[in-house]
Amino acid sequence: MANKTVKVIKINADECNGCRACEAICSAFHATPKYGTTNPAKARIHVNWDPLRNLYVPVYGGPYVEAECLGRDRYVIGEKEYDECLFCRAVACPSRDLFKDPDSGLPLRCDMCEDDPSLKEPMCVQVCLVDALTYEEREEEMEEEKEKLDELEMGLETLIDKYGFDKVADTLARISISKQAET
């Protein structure tokens, strides 16, 4: 057992005004160079948005999945039926484009804006002046967790799913040889 800081973003969907500032800034913050490009399709938060049904639900890119769900549930909210996928946090799910980089197909998972030095608050929370998103840190006792996949590993997993292990390994080897040759 160990103590661990749990970072929590609380989502108050009732306060969300649908501005999508969170999407914009998330994409800009994770761009290279930082703030160099903006593209909400690359955000790790996604605002479900259906104004004429008064439906505003921000969803964060969460766990990485390799395969889509076997069944599908349907939600009925304000007379309209929604596919559960709309509210699902899974990244890299093969069934949809959400939480995948539109250029590379790489998964987009919320990393709580980990940075050095670390931020006072994640970027999406900072720009959400109406407090639909608020940030809390909690100390919690936790089971020792096995290492989570980091972003690079997650990306590699996706590539492996797409092209097969051998092809990815070959390509990596080839690149590393040519890089070494350059230096």
Partner: protein
Amino acid sequence: MRYAETGYNLEIDLSTGNIERVETDPRLTELHLGGLGTNAKILWDRVPPEVDPLSPDNLLIFSAGLLDGTPAIGANRTIITSFSPQTLLMGFSMMGGFFGPELKYAGYDKVIIRGKSPDLVYLWINNDKVEIRDASHLQGKGALETAEFIKEELNEPKVQIAAIGLAGENRVYFASIEHGRSSASRLGLGAVMGSKGLKAIAVRGTKDINIAKPDKFWEICQEVLKYIEYRLQNPIKGVPAILSMIGSPQEMMLHDEQWHTTSFSWGHARYRRKDFWNEEVAKNWAESQRNAIERLVSCYNCPVRCGAIIRHPSLPTHRYMMKCYSKLTYVMAAMTDDLAFGFKIAGLAQEYGLDGYTTPQVMAFATELYDNGILTDEEMPGFPSNNEERFFYLLEKIVRREGIGDVLANGVYWAARQIGKGAEKFDHNTTKKHEQMVIKLGMLNPLYFLMYATGEKGNITQIEGQIPQTPLPKGYREEFVKDWIQVPTGKEERFKRFILEWGDEGKSFPFWPPPDLVCELVDWQETMHYIDDATGICAGLSSFPIKPPYHIHNLSCLISAGTGLDIDEEGLWEIARRNRNLVRVINVRRGLRREDERPPEDHWKKRFPEYEEKLLDEYYKYRGWNREGIPTKETLEGLGLDYVAEDDMIKKEILKEGVSLGGTTVKATKKQ
């Protein structure tokens, strides 16, 4: 690489079905920035002055602002530009919401539409894939309903849509283009869209927008965000509630409507009801508003929430979104005390795609003609006796161009002349053939006189800003000027002194402030709007309110950091001047002259014809225009608009004026 902008326009010819992606000239960004500026350049180059606004040769341009889609807070305007069927001059209207940024993410700065489709179509822009699709099943559908249909049809929840309703299809001269959260309402651009057989444009984009100097850019954005937060918590003291905030304005959040209801006029811009607002009205209206509003909503990348989702059970979509003060325009024009009526009819009018400023005035005008026996039961069979019902009656006639509706659909100016029988006398609130704000005041305001007279936008809210509308009460002035950081460099002393002295003995309108200061203050107000119209930043955060988060100082830095261009304050001012002059010569080429530059005759009770002419002279001189309001050759060349000075008609007009310069003052005749 192109920064802030995409560097591409989409050219669509609806007659031939041809679609092209065209790279733009970066030099034009340096000269005009983007948005309205580059739209004007395209119209000057490509639409000859004799083109009828509703003909296939007219262009309809949907442009994102230069900073749309960047992290700049509130940079989300779509600047729609064409020629207006109502004024026959250049017509442009800005809408907030999400369309402009989405267009940028799809990889385009503008969509330029020419020609006319034989059948009703809509445009589907999905990154590089652009299709013209059949819209015959959407014929007659409401603007909001249309958007919902298209969303379902494309199965794209994140698509952004701009659509017209029945009014646009039927070419009502004050038809709007609706985009859910916002609309481009003024000057009949919806009719132009209808004339092209274009029901809607749907856009979805997933590409990057680049920033040249990312760290600097974000630093400025953060300051802006901080200032927004500060201003939301610190309304300006000494001005009415509605003017104390930022936004466009805060009509949905605020219940206190004392200022609008008691200072603006009711009916067909006729009656002030100075004692309308009392506790009971306040209570009832607050309740109506609470019942109607489900949520306050913002435009793209802005926390200010000027809009609201409104319940409306009888619409096909059951809800609509309202902005600004359309909640009051119908109520006041219909002379009813029931705010719920406003929410109801505004929703229906939005579904039909109508301008919420002009429409109520046209209906009040028709009601007035009926009450005066000029229109009768013959033209208006079954016209109800109750004002609210009358408005619903007229609404249906107008959007269908049915019976008298066919005449009224052309707006007050044209309808008055078509009806005749003395109806012209009731056309008392238009300028340049367009309905103006329903304000009737006492003493001539020299600043507003010039803005109404010389403005190219048909709408004072797109010209005014920065300074209070009446003198600040004495104890508030010092505090106001203390942190007035928005004032342009070099003007601090003069403008602050203006605020401190305005309202003192002998320091009141119309002869104070002196004309040179009047011109400078007007220039500042106009310039800030011309900058916003190019960048796409919301006027509600920049040119419109008092002490806005954006101002000439941070805007020049922001634009420079975003684009990589090196534009300082003076440079930015010059670009705005260039755009202002280009818009002016486009209108001059279509016949705009000094005699057109007249605010509504009864806008103020106390008028000073001679002094007004002097003000116009001074302003024209200040702008480098001749006595007819036409930019001189030197002015045009100084702004790098030599090709304009070379235009045959402009040359002729400059010359003509040159000959008469020594003669008598141009007689300002009342235009019939």
